[in-house]
Structures are given as structure tokens and as C-alpha cells.
């Protein structure tokens, strides 16, 4: 069992799948376009629902993937399908002959500049969820100086057809509740408001942190999508929404507004998809062989998918998906791939 497997993307999905496949005895080559492994996880401070340090989780992933051949600052230049393997030319000059390819290209955060009415990049006191995580990680951000009134706008670049993002980004509700709690911990006197349409706290312990945010931290949840933000002469923000529970328009002055940017298909993933001629669905994420029974197989034999490349996922979902992908790759490489004579028939029957 020494097949080469190329894994594209060194975030949590790529790392976890690498570790699993290496344990199974495969020869794994992991490539990451950024200078560092870890993807978005490396930029995050703490994780919902239990505020576990992101570094701890990433450290664990990196440790278990030790020994995997790994190229950072590396992308795919060209990819050719041979009879049943893939000949992949990397940007670092190396060519890999790979029997299976796992695309774990992850997500990009929605570019909040596109929601001009929220004023990101226009008004000083508007930031994104990623900016706030960076603040928690580094402890410094010139926008945060003992804020008294803080707002969180849910669904920025999700459930918004006009921005080209119809789907729910799934993780932002829990992230907003987590960040609301954390900012209250940092500034206990602050008033914190969350503007939501529905609170989608579907996971285990998620409802608990929602209750905790209300009960212990006094976070105010206002049902109504944030409609408009403007800047006052003193630099504070005036935001407007409808309190749809009260059925009344509402305004409030804020010192800081945090936009919950949603997950979008990654641009680098799209480039890989173009090279491989992979099917992309209307939502921009890669199509899978079957959303229920074969969520880690792409429609193309030998090409597998894991993590947010196939839609927004929480971190545990991504890791589970990566493990599932490793199992699927193993099944493919032991059941279908070795039978050269009947390969095409087996793919038809079993892919």
C-alpha cells in the first residue's frame, strides 16, 4: 500500500485527512498555497461552543500529521488525467503522480466591503468577525478602546441573494454568540446587541451558550436584519433595524459594530476546480456524488472532497468529513483502483 495521494489544502480538513491516510500506509503529499499550515483555524483565537483555544486544536492536528510530505507556498499549476491516475504539476516545479486527489480547498470569508450599507472599510468602527478574532488573539486593534455599546450583525454574506449568497453559512450564529460572550468578558460594562433573523443554534451545547449569553452576560438579541448603518459626527455609529418581534423600527447608537461574514467558496478552490473540470453547484460549492450517501466523492473518479469545499461546515464536521474522505479513498484504492483490467467497469458500478 504505497499509492501516492495528493491533498490540496493544508487547513483542518487537509491535515486530518493527511494524518489518517498516512496511518493507513499511504504516501501523502499535502500542498498549501499559504506560507503556513492551518487555514482559517490558524487565525482564530477560540472556538465555539466551549471556547477551546484554536491553537490547541491546530497543534493537535499538526502533531498527528507529522511525517506527511508537505509543501507550503505551493499551488497546482496543471493537472492531467492519465488512464486512472493524475499527473499533477505543482508551482514549486515538482510533479506528482497521484492515484487519488483530495480537494480540501476550504472557504473564503465573505468580503464585507460588498455590503456597502454596513460601511465596512468606510466607517472606522465597523469590523468583521475575523477582525475581532484577531483582536482576541493579539489584544490590540485601534477600533477597540473600551467600547460601551457593541452590535453584532448576523448573516453578512449569507441568506442574501442580492450578494449572491443564498445559503445559510451555518457557523456564524454560534460564532456571534461566542464572540458576544467573549467581548462581554473583556468589557463587562458594555451593552451587547445581536441582530439576527433566525438563530440557528443547531449543534450540541450551542443552545447552552445562547442561554448563557442571555442569562449570565445580558446580551440582547434583536430579531431583525440590520438594515442600515451611518456614522455620527463623533465617530459612533447609528444603526437601524426592525425589531420584528415588536413590529417596530428601531435605532441604536453603537461604539463598535461586528459583521458576521459568512463562508463563501474559496477562490483558490475554484481555480483547482477549473483545472479539474469539476462540477460546481449553483451555490458555488463543489458538487458531490451523492449528498447523503457519498458526500466525499466528486463526480469524477479518483477525485475526493472534504471540508468546506462542499459547503459551510463547523470544525468538528470538517474533521469528521476528512476522516470519512480518508476511508473513501482507502476503499477506492483497495477495491477499484488495483483492478486494471476491470477498472472502468468497477468505477461505473461502485463510484
Amino acid at each position: 500500500m504505497k499509492n501516492n495521494i495528493l491533498i490540496i489544502g493544508g487547513g483542518p480538513a487537509g491535515l486530518e485527512a493527511s494524518a489518517q491516510l498516512q496511518r493507513m500506509g499511504y504516501n501523502v503529499i499535502l500542498i498549501e498555497k499559504a506560507p503556513k499550515l492551518g487555514g482559517h483555524l490558524a487565525k482564530w483565537d477560540r472556538l465555539f461552543p466551549d471556547s477551546v483555544p484554536a491553537d490547541e486544536v491546530l497543534g493537535g492536528l499538526l502533531r498527528s500529521a507529522e511525517g506527511v510530505k508537505c509543501f507550503t507556498d505551493t499551488d497546482v499549476r496543471a493537472i492531467n488525467r492519465l488512464d486512472k491516475s493524475y499527473n499533477v504539476r505543482l508551482t514549486n516545479g515538482i510533479t506528482v503522480l497521484s492515484d487519488a486527489v483530495l480537494v480540501a480547498s476550504g472557504f473564503d470569508l465573505f468580503d464585507a466591503v460588498k455590503k456597502e450599507e454596513y460601511g465596512y472599510g468606510i466607517y472606522d468602527q465597523v469590523m468583521t468577525n475575523a477582525d475581532l478574532e484577531a483582536y482576541f488573539k493579539t489584544g490590540s486593534d485601534k477600533r477597540i478602546e473600551n467600547p460601551g455599546r457593541i452590535g453584532f450583525a448576523h448573516c453578512v454574506g449569507s441568506r442574501d441573494e442580492k450578494s449572491g449568497c443564498r445559503s445559510c453559512s451555518k457557523v456564524c450564529c454560534a460564532t456571534a454568540v461566542k464572540q458576544a460572550i467573549e467581548i462581554k468578558q473583556a468589557f463587562p460594562k458594555a451593552e451587547v446587541y445581536c441582530f439576527y433573523m433566525d438563530l440557528r443554534l443547531f449543534g450540541r451545547h450551542y443552545e447552552d451558550i445562547y442561554l448563557k449569553a442571555q442569562k449570565e452576560y445580558g446580551v440582547r438579541f434583536i430579531r431583525g436584519r440590520l438594515a442600515e448603518v451611518s456614522e455620527n459626527y463623533d465617530g459612533t455609529l447609528q444603526v437601524k433595524a426592525e425589531d420584528t418581534v415588536a413590529g417596530k423600527p428601531l435605532k441604536v447608537t453603537l461604539d463598535l459594530l461586528v459583521l458576521m461574514s459568512g463562508m463563501r467558496p474559496s477562490a483558490s478552490g475554484k481555480a483547482i476546480g477549473d483545472l479539474l473540470e469539476m462540477t460546481v453547484e449553483e451555490d458555488g460549492y463543489f458538487a458531490v456524488r451523492s449528498g447523503i450517501a457519498a458526500g466525499q466523492r466528486s463526480p469524477i473518479p479518483g477525485i475526493f472532497l472534504a471540508g468546506a469545499a462542499t459547503g459551510p461546515k463547523t470544525l468538528p464536521e470538517t474533521l469528521a468529513d476528512a476522516r470519512a474522505a480518508a476511508m473513501e479513498i482507502d476503499r477506492y484504492l483497495t477495491e477499484i483502483f488495483p483492478d486494471a483490467k476491470n477498472y472502468k467497469q468497477l468505477v461505473r458500478e461502485r463510484w
Partner: protein, 109 residues
């Protein structure tokens, strides 16, 4: 003043800048459960007084959080303290006690 046959309607917009935090904390100190209402509306749905007058604990809690406590107190006047709302509240709020505390804290009379 000349009667032009029309008047101005006061703004019904919620202005959270007017929210009286100290007063709210006073209420929350005796009634911490006021924080955990998730506005499901079960209390309003079963309210016996609500059939005859506009009575809604859900709305009253909202009014307080929306800096309109007078409306809340007014609305709860019709409450008969029957307690059906406490039976249906999914968060287990002692609604009768909450209603009394709201009235006590915010009543101006």
C-alpha cells in the same frame, strides 16, 4: 391654536439609546429570568386576559428592553395572575412573579 384638522402622531420607533440600564438591572436583580425570554409567544397565546384586551407578557418584556416601560406596565394592568403563562413557558420563567416585579419596578403611580 387653529385646528387644521390633523395632528402629529408621536414616533413609535424604538430608540435603544433611551434604555434605562440602571432600572433594568434593578429589575434583573430581583428577576434574573427577565433576561432569558426568547420571545416565543407561548405566554401570549394562552393568556386569558389577552382574549379581551391587549395583554402580552412577551410584548411587555420586549417593551422594557426597548426603552418603553410605560407601555409594559399599562399592558400588564389587565393580567389576572391566573398563571397559565408560567405553565407553558419553555424556559420555566416564573411569569407571575415577573409580572408583579415589572409592575413594582416600573410603576410610576
Amino acid at each position: 391654536m387653529v385646528d387644521f384638522g390633523f395632528g402629529l402622531v408621536p414616533s413609535s420607533r424604538i430608540n435603544l439609546d433611551l434604555f434605562d440600564k440602571d432600572k433594568y438591572e434593578e429589575l434583573a436583580a430581583v428577576e434574573p429570568d427577565v433576561r432569558i425570554c426568547m420571545a416565543c409567544g407561548s405566554c401570549t397565546a394562552v393568556c386569558t386576559a389577552g382574549k379581551f384586551s391587549t395583554t402580552s407578557l412577551r410584548e411587555a418584556i420586549e417593551d422594557i428592553k426597548n426603552a418603553q416601560p410605560a407601555k409594559a406596565v399599562e399592558m400588564l394592568q389587565a393580567c389576572q395572575l391566573c398563571g397559565k403563562c408560567s405553565m407553558v413557558c419553555p424556559r420555566g420563567i416564573n411569569t407571575r412573579h415577573l409580572i408583579l416585579s415589572i409592575t413594582k419596578t416600573y410603576s410610576t403611580k
